[in-house]
Amino acid sequence: MQLWQNLPFAMILLPLASASLTSILKGKAARRAALTVITLVTLMAAALVIFMQGYGQSYTFMMGHFPAPWGNEIRAGMLEAVTALCFALVMLFSVMGGLRDIEHDILPDRQNLYFVMCELTTAALMAQVFTNDVFTGYVFLEIMTIAACALISARTKGRTLVAATRYMIMNLVGSGLFLLGLTLLYDLTGHLLMSNIQEKIIALSATGKYQQPLTMVIALVTIGLGIKSALFPFHTWVPDAYSSSTPTSSAILSSLISKGYIFLLIKFYYRVFGLREVVNAQVEDVLLVFGAAGAVIGSVLAIRQLDIRRMIAYSSVAQIGYIYMAIGLGTQSGMTAALFQLMAHAICKSLLFIATGGLCAASGEKRGFTSLRGAAYRNPVAGAAFVVGAFSMIGIPFLSGFVVKLAYAEAAVLWGGPRMITVLAVLAISTMLNAIYFGRTVVTLFRLSEEKIAQQQKWHSGPCFAVACAALSLLTFALGLAADPVLAAIRSGLEMFS
């Protein structure tokens, strides 16, 4: 056991332990503590990626003195390391970019609690990524659910309470179904550790016993996590939750928390059920259909919105549909595409939400398109960042969105048949729809007569905002220009996975 192998453990325990410390600090100190902790987690994730590349295989880490089926265990591989790095980076820049809005939106004596939520979300995300035990997954999923409610309702203005209530009801239904699935799974296999469950499931399908409950378990876990990550027919909580909360919360919710659930689902498919079992249960087909429907309908709904934040929220629904569509292909290349989209979208969506926060702040905290006319001249940094994000969403070359679409097309063509046609058609339609609504928004942001441009009052959102926007834009470019190492890492990670 080498010392660097303790990194995943430290990445979970550090934010968890510092959360209680942050709760007794005052606003400014709490902010500093949270930023320091998240930065440290990011650095550790980066170090882990580097070490993993040298190590070349996955390893398990005993949480305590007892070996795996008895004690808890976490597991790290290439995929986990890359995902953790992506999540930590997005977390860091989402918090950094929204600092001004947090100060503005949240009452001063509650800001420290807001940062507690950020830290605990980080810890829970890391635990979701690294867990090798289904029940640990559930415990940290619970932390994420409650933290998300608090993140939404921390802003005291607007429809946040309605949004948080709706979010809570839908998400608790999701958690309940997921827990039900876990209970049945434990009853069938007698294990909570992922690798042991998989062994038992393989043995069960060889004998043909308990096949109906097993299918039910796969369905329950999929629906539970699907509801929690806003898969298309369960997306009704999204627009309010993402549009009424403070920008950092929207960014964390849409690009981290829902992605954490999806990552857990992929982990379940690979490490618990085994991909073949899932394909046999035909859950994949359902996911493909709902994902494709979500990708199109989310975009159509986005076109109808007059509020920029609601538009981005509906665009999130569409992008989540995309991820599920690729999972629905049920192949290795499909999963690679889904995971790449998961990371690309996490970065891009937080960039969009943060940039929108800056644009709205420059337009007197209004979100309607009429008030946002020419906002890019008032806040050039936010305008530029928004353009990068929007173009990536549309799929302009050199940006991450383009690589995503390429990977999707590749995965679809490799499969062939009606699935290929579905995926390609959805790609074409949704790209067009994305171009319509993001193009319209970009034009609105820059539409102003020349005399008026000079009159616009400049708005400065501070250095933190600029750094966050620049970093997230750079990451979007980096994923677009140098996608191959990331794709290769995902592929090797998936190989280590099963």
Binding site: M1, N6, F9, L13, L16, A17, A19, S20, L21, S23, I24, F61, M62, M63, G64, H65, F66, P69, W70, G71, N72, L107, P108, D109, R110, L113, Y114, V116, M117, L120, A123, A127, D133, F135, T136, V139, F140, E142, I143, I146, A147, C149, A150, S153, A154, L184, Y186, D187, L188, T189, G190, H191, K200, Y210, Q212, P213, M216
Partner: protein
């Protein structure tokens, strides 16, 4: 046989060519023409004509408006009465169908599960066997459950206690009256909360006070017993903490905030939950680190059955108990008056 056409000059391509040769139709040209036409027409009309037309137009407009209003009213009426009923009925039927089908599917699943308590069930495997047979020896806890949740699977329990903590923080974000906002606003909110409190909650109830005077010490003692006895018998942090929290709430109900605020304010809550959680996280981090790296942690298990035995379990139980008691009390006070 294909139709032969001899009007090549009028087909679309030559027309396009001609149009391009003319230089196309400029948008600006059309606009000026229309504008000039309109202005010409205006000049020809006399003032009376204009007035008459305006009146006609106004009447027409009014008619259209009335018509639309009637249509709107009818549509609205339908939506309010029949439509709403129809949609509600549709939703009700769908919801019932959905629930019934989910229940049916789940019942089928349950009937296909291994029979309850069967000897050869998958859950009777090496995992539970080791917990039962070696639990005492490996964790030093007579109570196997305590050994399982605080030693074998301590990481999950660490997460669970943070679930409680985060729930308390979330309620504080939602319900706590703001300290540093507008002072007048704050005092108004405070006064409203106090008024509510006086209206709905018991105040100086002599029966309650007498009973609480006898019961609260017993409840507290029992809570502490459950807490300290967690590794030796049924009990532990979660149940003991709940008992202590219930005792605190009873005390508050009987004697009011003036009595409890002497020893329990928001500062106490913060300090206690910080100390308990920080101790839990640090102690367990040390133990996880030692376990994973195969180091000797130096934490002895002691003699099973003694009060100070079973390594960290006793102290972790106390930490969990403090978090649970504080969280319960905090929930109650926050919901009651928005502060502690």
């Amino acid at each position: 046989m294909a139709k032969q056409r001899n009007d090549y000059e009028n087909s679309w391509f030559p027309r396009l060519q001609r149009w391009i040769a003319q230089g196309g139709t400029r948008l600006s040209d059309q606009m000026t023409e229309e504008l000039s036409e309109a202005s010409d027409a205006h000049r020809v009309l006399s003032a009376e004509d204009v007035a008459r037309r305006e009146v006609e137009q106004a009447v027409h407009q009014l008619e259209i408006q009335e018509h639309e209003a009637a249509l709107y009213e009818r549509a609205h009426q339908w939506g309010r009465t029949k439509g709403a009923k129809l949609i509600r009925a549709f939703y009700a039927v769908l919801a019932v169908l959905m629930c019934v089908s989910v229940i049916a599917v789940l019942l089928t699943t349950v009937s296909n599960l291994p029979s309850f308590g069967g000897e050869n069930n998958p859950i009777n495997n090496e995992v539970s066997q080791r917990y039962i047979e070696k639990g005492l020896q490996e964790t030093g806890a007579v109570n196997i459950v305590a050994g399982m949740i605080l030693d074998y699977r301590a990481f999950d329990t660490l997460g669970e206690s943070h679930v409680l903590f985060i729930a308390a923080c979330a309620v504080m974000i939602l319900l706590r009256l703001s300290d540093s906002g507008d002072p007048r606003q704050l005092s108004r909110e405070r006064m409203e909360a106090e008024a509510n409190d006086r209206l709905y909650e018991p105040k100086n109830d002599i029966i309650l006070q007498r009973v609480a005077g006898i019961l609260v010490p017993i409840i507290m003692l029992f809570g502490v017993y459950v807490l300290f006895n967690g590794h030796l018998g049924p009990g532990g942090g979660f149940s003991g903490g709940a008992v202590i929290g219930a005792g605190l709430i009873l005390y508050l109900n009987a004697y009011g905030f003036a009595a409890t605020e002497r020893f329990f304010t928001i500062k106490t809550f913060r300090a206690v939950s910080f100390i308990a959680l920080a101790f839990y996280a640090l102690a367990k981090s040390y133990s996880f680190f030692c376990g994973a790296n195969h180091l000797n942690s130096g934490i002895g298990l002691g003699t099973p059955g003694d009060i100070f035995s079973s390594g960290l379990i006793l102290y972790l139980n106390i930490a969990v108990g403090m978090v649970v008691a504080c969280t319960m009390y905090a929930f109650y006070t926050l919901f009651r008056k928005g502060d502690m």
